[in-house]
Symmetry: C2
Subunit: 279 residues, 2 copies
C-alpha cells in the first residue's frame, strides 16, 4: 500500500478541535531536544526554498502570501519563535509586526486599522507577534467587553480573515501553549538575569493572575473564529520545530512557483553578448 | 606597546576616499572563501548580541537605530547581502525595504517621501535595497537631471541624512563594487538557470550599457554626499564578511545598552511568588 501523503501531518495533529494538548508534550514531533534541533536545521533548508519560490512568485506578479499569527500568554515564546524559525529564511521575504497595547492614536481608530497596515505584501511571509485577537482577549478578561460587542468582533474578524484569504493570504494562527508552572520559571529568569530584565513587564503579573480567564477566552476564540493550531510550548525546541513544520506544510500545499520569464531568454542571451561596457 | 584599538579597522579600510579598491580584492579581510565563511559565522554571534542590545535599548525608550543603505550595479549582491548578513540576526529587529522604479503614485510625491516611510524604528536595523541615491543616479545617467537639480538633490540628501543622525539613526552607506566581467557572468547565470530567471530584468542591460556613466555618477555621489564605504563584491564571501564587519564595528561603537529596569526587581520577585494561578 502506498504511503499516505503526510503533507498535513503536523497540521492535523495540532489543529485545535477540543481539549488542547499538554503544554509539555511533543505531538508527532521529535521527543528529544537534540533530535528537534537537527530537525529544525533540515526544516530551515526546506522553508528557505519554499519561501524563495513564494517571493519569486510575488516578484513575477503573483499575489499570494502567508501570515503567521502568534498568540500566547507572556513568555510563551512568540519572540523566540520569530528569532529561531523566521530567522531561518531570507529577511527580504519576512514582514514582522508586533502589536502592543494600542497607543492613544491607534485607539481612536477601529481596532483592525493598525492590523491592516502591517499585512504582508505578495510573496512575503508576514508575522504578527500578538494580533487583532488581543482586541477580544484583553477587554474580555478585563470585563469591558459586552456579549454583543464580543459577537460583533468575532463576526468582524471572521470576515476580515475571509477577506485575507480572498486576497491570496493564507493565515496560519498559532497559539503557543505553555503551562503556568513554566511561565513562573520564565518570569523568574527574566527578573534574575540582568540582560533579560528588559523583557519583563510588571503588567505580566496581572495577566498571570487571570490565567484561567485567559484560557477560557482563548477556548472561546478557538471555537468562534477560523481554524487555529495549538503548539505545546513548554519545550522551546518542540515549539520551534512545530511552528517551522506548520509553515512548511502550509507553503508546500501552496506550491509556490518560480514565475516563467516575461522576456525571451534566448534573445536576452544574444543581446547580453553584444552589450559592450564602455569604460 | 598596547595594541591599537581596531574597532574601525574595516571601516577605515573601506571608507571611500579616492580611487576604489579592485572589485576582486579583499582588503583587511580573509583572502580565502573558507576563512571568510568561518569569519562570518563568528560575526553572526557578535552581530546578534549587539543587535539584541540595540533592540532592548529601543524597548527601554532609547531612540537609536542603524540604517544600512545598499547600492550597486545590478547583480552586485544587494539581495545576497541581505540574506547572508541580515539573515544572521533576529528578524524582529530588522526592517527591510527595497526601492524599485517609483510607481506613478510615488512619482507625484517628493522623492524622499517613500524613503521616509521606511525608516527603521528605534532599536531596529533598517536595510535599504537601493535608496534615495537612485533618484540621482538614474535621471543623471539618462540625461534628465540638470546640474542645478543635481546640486539641489545633493543638498537635500545631505540635509536628510543629517536629520537622521540628529534623530539617532546611524547611516551606513555601502557601495557593492563589482566588475563588469563579474556582472556579465552573473547576468548569464540568471538567464541560463530557470530558477534564477525571475531575478533578471531586460532593463539590466540598459544600465550595463551605461556602465562608465554610472561609475562616474557614483564617484560624484561619493564626493558630494556624506561618507560611503566601497565593498569589493566580485567575491560573495568577501562581500558578506565585509558588510557584517562594517555593521559590527558601527554597532560596537554605539555601545548599545540593555536598559535598566524601570521597576523594582526585588518587589516583582516577591510579588511573583504571591501571584497564584486560578485554574
Amino acid at each position: 500500500m502506498a504511503k499516505k501523503d503526510d503533507g498535513s501531518r503536523v497540521r492535523d495533529a495540532l489543529r485545535v478541535g477540543g481539549a488542547l494538548p499538554d503544554p509539555g508534550s511533543a505531538p508527532v514531533g521529535p521527543d528529544k531536544k537534540a533530535k528537534a534541533l537537527a530537525g529544525l536545521d533540515s526544516a530551515g533548508e526546506r522553508l528557505s526554498a519554499l519561501q524563495e519560490a513564494l517571493y519569486a512568485e510575488g516578484v513575477g506578479g503573483g499575489r499570494r502570501s502567508v501570515l503567521l499569527v502568534l498568540q500566547g500568554m507572556d513568555t510563551s515564546g512568540k519572540g523566540g519563535t520569530v528569532s529561531h524559525v523566521l530567522g531561518l529564511v531570507n529577511p527580504m521575504g519576512v514582514r514582522y509586526a508586533a502589536f502592543k497595547k494600542p497607543t492613544a492614536a491607534e485607539q481612536r481608530h477601529h481596532y483592525l486599522w493598525r492590523i491592516r497596515k502591517q499585512l504582508p505584501a505578495p510573496g512575503q511571509i508576514g508575522v504578527f507577534d500578538r494580533s487583532h485577537y488581543e482586541d477580544i482577549l484583553v477587554p474580555r478578561v478585563s470585563g469591558l467587553l459586552t456579549g454583543a460587542e464580543r459577537r460583533r468582533r468575532y463576526a468582524e474578524i471572521t470576515a476580515f480573515e475571509a477577506e485575507l484569504a480572498e486576497a491570496g493570504t493564507t493565515v496560519v494562527k498559532v497559539f503557543l501553549h505553555i503551562s503556568p508552572e513554566e511561565q513562573l520559571k520564565r518570569l523568574k529568569a527574566r527578573l534574575v538575569t540582568p540582560e533579560k530584565r528588559w523583557k519583563y513587564n510588571p503588567g505580566d503579573l496581572d495577566a498571570r493572575s487571570h490565567w484561567a480567564a485567559y484560557q477560557k477566552a482563548y477556548a472561546d476564540i478557538f471555537e468562534k473564529t477560523p481554524q487555529w493550531y495549538a503548539v505545546p510550548a513548554d519545550h522551546k525546541w518542540y515549539r520551534n520545530w512545530a511552528v517551522a513544520e506548520l509553515l512548511i506544510e502550509t507553503l508546500a500545499e501552496l506550491k509556490p512557483e518560480f514565475p516563467a520569464p516575461d522576456y525571451d531568454v534566448d534573445a536576452e542571451l544574444a543581446k547580453l553578448k553584444g552589450v559592450g561596457v564602455r569604460s
